[in-house]
């Protein structure tokens, strides 16, 4: 299991850190993979993810940098950015949060939600329920000790995060270290079923000490000949040391001292109390002590006292003393009574009652027998808090959380009111707060799937695991609601394969299955049976003659508004049913209601809509029908809130409660054909319950003609004129297709404007040639009755498909003739390579992982830099701007975003004028000499200073042998491997080195006797989570490309250019089409001649 542990400090500082660090150690010891996120700090434990850490923010010092960074406590964009990168690179299975407030901020939590990663949080203090993270036992709010301004900031921070509900919305499970914490959370509105009580555990040092504690303690006492009682902690007013000193003053045990370890703001006051009571010689304030010293002090003490006036979340210090066999006297605060049973394994006293404390101390110190009993019992108690038990419980929690994790519905988590309010707050606070609103609204916006957005209406039941593999390809899936009972595994599998998918349950509110129930659910059980089980005849829609009204054979129509004898309507029944039966299952993102009509008179004119036994007028039938439906959807929305997406298939009514509608059989004649349907589509996109989600469904009119590409395109391109999801299938009689068209793979990105009619440049919906621009291309629809020719100002590339080859030929065009009622998707041609090394000026061909050409080729050229140089444009320093690295004639030059030269280095000395091969791993630049240079691999950091790492990929004695180099994670372990290929003159020898420069795999990519060397690159080109190694034959070989896994297993191969040419082939990889999967790019520099 790969677990991301997040705490704002990764060095011993307080209780949370003690636990978090021990936990990291424990998980690693048990072979779990732990990755970390925290602040940068020299005191941090070693962590390979340190490069992702956010800059240190020291709030304990008053400084300008700290003030400038202060907005971070409300919402840290930097932390979000870094965490995004971290999880994209490391892909954790689960996230375990500890303390993140202030320095990191909960801004990172929605990131995990969006990425589909479950989050658990250990509650180390009471920050979730109070601004100042501590709770006084007397119930008083304890303001921040340093400054009222800081206290105000904390209150604002608390209010802001509470307002956002950022914890509640994004934490899947809270781990409370005690029942006390759980109770407090529940009392403050946290859901009980989202809180697990799992106590902390004792660190190794205490368990080891536990075994030998008695002996060591004896030795210490003998050595020091000193008797004392001991207490430790931060010297805060809330820790109650003043009570202890006062209680101690009244105990007259000869030679018994009081020792208090710790530092803090209350030190002066405690010294004064000591002095006032004349105890200077008996009370020792020891100052800050190390952990080892504390252990020794506990061991030597007669008793340990915990006198806190603040509620403890767990009481680790108490447990540690108990583990060392020391009798403990503690105040009854927080979780302490869960550890100490008064008189059994320790003694308790009333908080802030120095008299009671004195009595308990006296009782203990005067009774050796009691001391021994308590000591033994304390040890037994401590044994229960072993690391083994804790580990087993925690792993169970992780597994259960992952199992129960349900991708949240991608709805706006922050309402408009919150955003506006925050905008006002932003204006008031002025300084760097101003952009929080924008960032925040983006962060919590619904998942913005790229276009085209695809929907599948799949009524077949049960859904098999094989079906799940196919169905996961769509962005929105509608399944019959009975899938909940017979296809749970398949639904979960779909979500696993596509965490962003929206899955809706198909249902209806105005019909009840009666005759078809057995056919639909032959087993006699299922959601339709459940629905029918509550059916009451009085809720059936009746004619004035008392007959059931039937629209679809086998179903009876239902009347949503008529009340039964208990005054309950069918609408009430349905609201409960959908809430408690469907949405409570956690399987669905929402519901799609069929037949959401505004009227019922089209079904029968004899309807008795109000149930008074009389025939109602058509106006009354329709008016009441509409009222009943509105009432139903209103109640349903009130009940489900934004938790559910609710769509209607019908005539577009009730949109104030619905997220959108389905346009079945688009373009429908009754909606006014294409023009009428598109008008309605546009209107329903504009208003209604947010977010808007519409489905445009076109079909083959029940002919099953999959090859009707034009109809499919016409519907798809029409759907793309607005923001809906598109479905194309058989028709109303059969909805169980996996039909996939070439157009579905088009990567259009996001829309960059509204659709417009090219014939009159108007936005008004009417027949015409409609164009909508996207970041990745354009969409054209000819809704007129005749062919239309369009000439473009720019070039566009047709899709490259295998179905309708004429339409999707991959050709680059500047003019097109569209048939009547047809549409087309065109892409912007590719013209550059980003984030990957290429030869400036080379002709690039783009392939998928199997060698199939994916996009039309292009010259990869940046005219401001020397042709033939190795070049990469990439954000090296994390400033979101691309820098450019050029390797040419023995030098490597770094240019900033404005192409200003920043630095030049000569990795192989200024005399070396050969070409240098480059690789970039995040912010590390790796170099290899193309020819000569003893195949020496060197590493540089983001500003091209020496990273202090280098090695020879092959024998250093082979001085004339160069190398090519690449850097990727080939084994999916989260660490980068270095891949090298021998240079010209060497064999096609590929080596894979781990982070310690140790060769972990090697092979010959081509024939053993070939001496042209081998070019290497790498990327995850098949989306398996591991990078593949891609090779191109060196000079003298054919343009032979091979793809290997990280161990050298050949996966695929092809000739990238004319196989008879013998110049070899350079290879690189880049995500050219923006689908998140890298393509292989073969580079050819020999295209300029004949």
């Amino acid at each position: 299991m790969r677990i991301l542990q997040i705490n704002k400090f990764l060095y011993p500082k307080g209780g949370a850190e003690t636990y978090a660090l021990s936990l990291i150690e424990l998980l690693k010891k048990n072979d779990q993979e732990v990755i970390c996120f925290s602040q940068k700090n020299g005191k941090n434990i070693p962590c390979s993810e340190e490069r992702y850490f956010i800059d240190d923010l020291d709030l304990s010092k008053f400084s300008l940098p700290a003030i400038l960074k202060l907005p971070r406590i409300f919402w840290s964009f930097k932390a979000r950015q870094l965490v995004k990168k971290l999880i994209a690179d490391k892909r954790p299975d689960i996230v375990h949060i500890h303390n993140i407030y202030h320095q990191i901020s909960p801004s990172i939590l929605p990131i995990f939600r969006q990425a589909g990663i479950p989050v658990v949080m250990t509650v180390h203090d009471f920050k979730l329920i109070t601004p100042n993270y501590t709770l006084r036992a007397d119930g008083k709010y304890l303001p921040h000790k340093d400054s009222p301004l800081i206290d105000l900031a904390l209150k604002l921070e608390f209010a802001w995060h509470k307002w956002l509900n950022v914890y509640k919305n994004n934490i899947d499970l809270y781990i409370a270290p005690s029942q006390f914490v759980k109770d407090k959370l529940i009392g403050n509105g946290f859901e009980e079923n989202k809180i697990s009580v799992t106590p902390h555990f004792l660190a190794e040092e205490f368990r080891l000490s536990n075994n030998s504690g008695a002996v060591t303690a004896t030795k210490t006492i003998e050595a020091s000949q000193e008797k004392y009682i001991f207490s430790y902690g931060r010297l805060d007013e809330g820790k109650g040391f003043d009570d202890l000193i006062k209680a101690y003053a009244e105990i007259n045990v000869l030679g018994l001292k009081l020792k208090i370890a710790g530092a803090g703001p209350d030190e002066d006051r405690l010294n004064k109390i000591t002095k006032d009571l004349g105890l200077e010689n008996r009370v020792e304030l020891l100052g800050q002590k190390s952990r080892i010293e504390i252990i020794e002090l506990i061991k030597g003490a007669e008793a340990v006292i915990s006198c806190s006036k603040l509620h403890e979340t767990f009481g680790l210090t108490v447990l540690e003393a108990m583990a060392l066999g020391k009798p403990v006297v503690a105040s009854k605060v927080g979780a302490i009574p869960e550890l100490i049973e008064d008189g059994v394994n320790g003694l308790l006293y009333q908080v802030s009652d120095a008299g009671d404390l004195r009595n308990q101390l006296f009782k203990l110190l005067s009774d050796n027998k009691l001391k021994n009993i308590l000591s033994k019992a304390a040890k037994i108690t401590a044994k229960k808090y072993s690391a083994e038990i804790h580990y087993a419980e925690l792993i169970k929690i992780y597994e259960q959380t992952m199992k129960n994790f349900k991708k949240p519905i991608r709805l706006v988590n922050i309402g408009l009111v919150n955003l506006i309010a925050f905008l006002i707050l932003t204006i008031l606070l002025l300084i760097p707060f101003y952009n929080i609103y924008i960032e925040n609204s983006q962060a919590l916006a619904p998942y913005a799937a790229d276009y085209p957005r695809l929907a599948n209406l799949y009524w077949k039941n049960p859904v098999t695991m094989a079906d799940a593999q196919e169905l996961a390809k769509w962005d929105l899936l509608v399944l019959d609601m009975q899938a909940q009972t017979n296809s749970t595994s398949a639904i979960n599998e779909i979500r696993r394969l596509n965490p962003n998918i929206i899955i809706l349950a198909y249902t209806t509110a105005n019909e009840m299955m009666v005759g078809q129930l057995k056919n639909v659910e032959p087993s006699g059980a299922g959601l339709w049976h459940d629905l029918a089980s509550g059916d009451q005849n009085v809720w059936h829609l009746k004619t004035f003659r008392g007959e059931d009204v039937v629209f679809w054979p086998g179903n009876v129509m239902m009347n949503l508004g008529v009340r039964d004898s208990n005054g309950r309507t069918y609408a009430d029944y349905l609201v409960d049913f959908y809430d408690q039966k469907l949405m409570a299952s956690g399987l669905w993102d929402g519901l799609l209601f069929d037949n959401t009509w505004q009227t019922a008179s089209q079904v029968s004119k004899d309807i008795d809509i109000d149930g008074d036994g009389k025939q109602d007028s058509i106006d009354k039938i329709n008016s009441l029908w509409q009222n009943y439906y509105s009432d139903f959807f209103s109640k349903l929305r009130n009940r489900l809130g934004s938790r559910a997406i609710i769509l209607g298939n019908g005539d577009g009514a009730y949109q104030q409660y619905l997220n959108g509608r389905m346009f079945e059989g688009f373009p429908e004649y009754w909606e006014g054909g294409w023009t009428g349907s598109i008008k309605r589509y546009g209107e329903t996109e504009k208003s209604g319950f947010q977010p808007r989600i519409n489905i445009i469904n076109s079909d083959t009119s029940n002919t099953g003609n999959f090859y009707d590409y034009q109809s499919m395109r016409y519907g798809l391109t029409s759907a793309l004129l607005f923001n809906g999801y598109y479905s194309f299938d058989y028709g109303t009689q059969l909805r169980e297709q996996f039909w996939w068209y070439d157009e579905y793979d088009a990567k259009l990105g996001q829309p960059s404007g509204a659709a417009k009619n090219l014939l009159n440049q108007s936005l008004d919906i009417q027949p015409g040639v409609w164009q909508r621009d996207f970041t990745g291309g354009i969409v054209l629809v000819n809704s007129t009755a005749k062919p239309q020719t369009i000439t473009f100002d720019a070039d566009y590339e047709k899709l490259r498909g295998s179905q309708d080859n004429k339409t999707n030929s991959g050709e680059i065009i500047n003019k097109i003739t569209l048939a009547a009622n047809d549409g087309i998707i065109l892409l912007k041609p590719v013209s550059n390579i980003d984030n990957s090394v290429f030869i400036n000026g080379a002709y690039a061909r783009v392939f998928d992982s199997s060698g199939k050409i994916k996009r039309t080729g292009f010259f990869a050229y940046s005219p401001i830099y020397a042709g033939g140089a190795n070049i990469i444009k990439i954000d090296l320093n994390g400033d979101k701007e691309k820098e450019t690295l050029i390797a040419d004639k023995g030098a490597i030059k770094l240019f900033d975003k404005n192409n200003v030269l920043i630095k030049t280095i000569y990795p192989y000395g200024e005399k070396f004028s050969g070409q240098i091969n480059l690789a970039v791993d995040k912010s590390t630049v790796i170099t290899a000499p193309q020819l000569g240079g003893s195949n020496f691999i060197r590493f540089y950091n983001k500003n091209l200073s020496d990273a202090g790492k280098s090695f020879n990929a092959y024998s250093p004695l082979w001085k004339n042998l160069g190398a090519s180099v690449a850097a990727c994670d080939t084994d999916g372990d989260g660490r980068t491997e270095i891949i090298t290929g021998a240079g010209f003159g060497g064999g096609p020898h590929v080596k894979v080195f781990n982070y310690e420069n140790k060769a972990i795999a090697e092979w010959f990519a081509y024939g053993l006797n070939f001496r042209g060397g081998v070019n290497v690159t790498c990327a995850d080109i098949n989306n398996d989570g591991k990078a593949e190694v891609i090779t191109g034959a060196g000079f003298g070989g054919g343009p032979h490309v091979r793809v290997f896994d990280g161990s050298g297993k050949l996966l695929s191969e092809w000739f990238a250019f004319d196989m008879n040419k013998r110049q070899g082939v350079k290879v690189t990889t880049a995500d050219i089409d923006g689908d998140g999967i890298a393509e292989v790019i073969a580079l050819n520099i020999n295209v300029f001649g004949k």
Binding site: D795, K815, T856, G867, F1088
Partner: protein, 240 residues
């Protein structure tokens, strides 16, 4: 002979090894000399070795021009590196990749885009300070899209409607890992007067440079490029 062999190479002969080494050296020396003489007879000298007294194969296309040598020795015939330029107009690459856009053959009033590919070469010697220039013909525009595998890229002079490309050093090595090449895109929008015939696209294509050993200017001129290109099976005749 056999006796002699037996005498000197008998295993019991005390000078067995001396003889064998001496004879081996003798054989190698004579053999090498024979090979050298044979090679001189079979393959005439390729390069001027001394006094320019060389033989030029009949089919050698190297340019021979009169030039005053750098020294003040008497003027003699000098052989210079041959500077050549391959200039091709392409709608698709030789391997079929689409480069051009628009109607082929071109149509009056419609825009067709072509790419012009340039590949210089030299035999015998390196040529320095190479410059390629070419002019755009009527109804042709430079789109600004270029590519180059060389230190400098394509430049365009809007006033002269001329492209230029400079290469500081053109190597004579045929097996160079990265031979220089360049390309640029043009548009052609024919007018009525060009209907029914082919049209010039690029004219005045010249390459010039300084022959490395002699420091002498060398140049060549390439044929104009027209709409008659290999990919256009119709012959490049402009359609009405």
């Amino acid at each position: 002979m056999l006796k002699r062999f037996h005498k000197y190479y008998h295993p019991k002969n005390n000078f067995f090894f001396v003889h064998i080494v001496a004879d081996a050296i003798l054989i190698l020396t004579v053999g090498s000399l024979a090979l050298y003489i044979f090679s001189l007879m079979a393959y005439p000298a390729k390069y001027p070795i001394a006094n320019n007294s060389i033989t030029i194969p009949k089919n050698n296309p190297a340019a021979i021009i009169s030039a005053k040598p750098a020294s003040e020795n008497a003027a003699k015939k000098k052989i210079l590196g041959e500077l050549r330029l391959s200039a091709i107009c392409r709608y698709t690459l030789a391997e079929g990749d689409q480069l051009g856009v628009g109607p082929l053959p071109p149509k009056i009033g419609e825009t067709t885009k072509y790419w012009i590919l340039l590949s210089p070469s030299t035999n015998y010697f390196d040529v320095n300070d190479v410059t390629v220039t070419a002019d755009l013909a009527q109804n042709v525009t430079f789109t600004g899209r270029t590519s180059a595998v060389s230190e400098s890229g394509i430049e365009y002079d809007e006033v002269k409607r001329q492209i230029s490309w400079e290469i500081s050093k053109l190597s004579n090595k045929s097996d160079e890992l990265m031979p220089p090449g360049a390309a640029f895109e043009i548009t052609f929008t024919p007018t009525e007067d060009q209907a029914g015939r082919t049209a010039k696209l690029i004219t005045g294509i010249k390459i010039s440079g300084i022959d490395s050993p002699t420091k002498t200017a060398v140049k060549s001129i390439s044929a104009n490029l027209t709409t008659h290109i290999i990919e256009d099976i119709s012959g490049g005749f402009i359609q009405p």
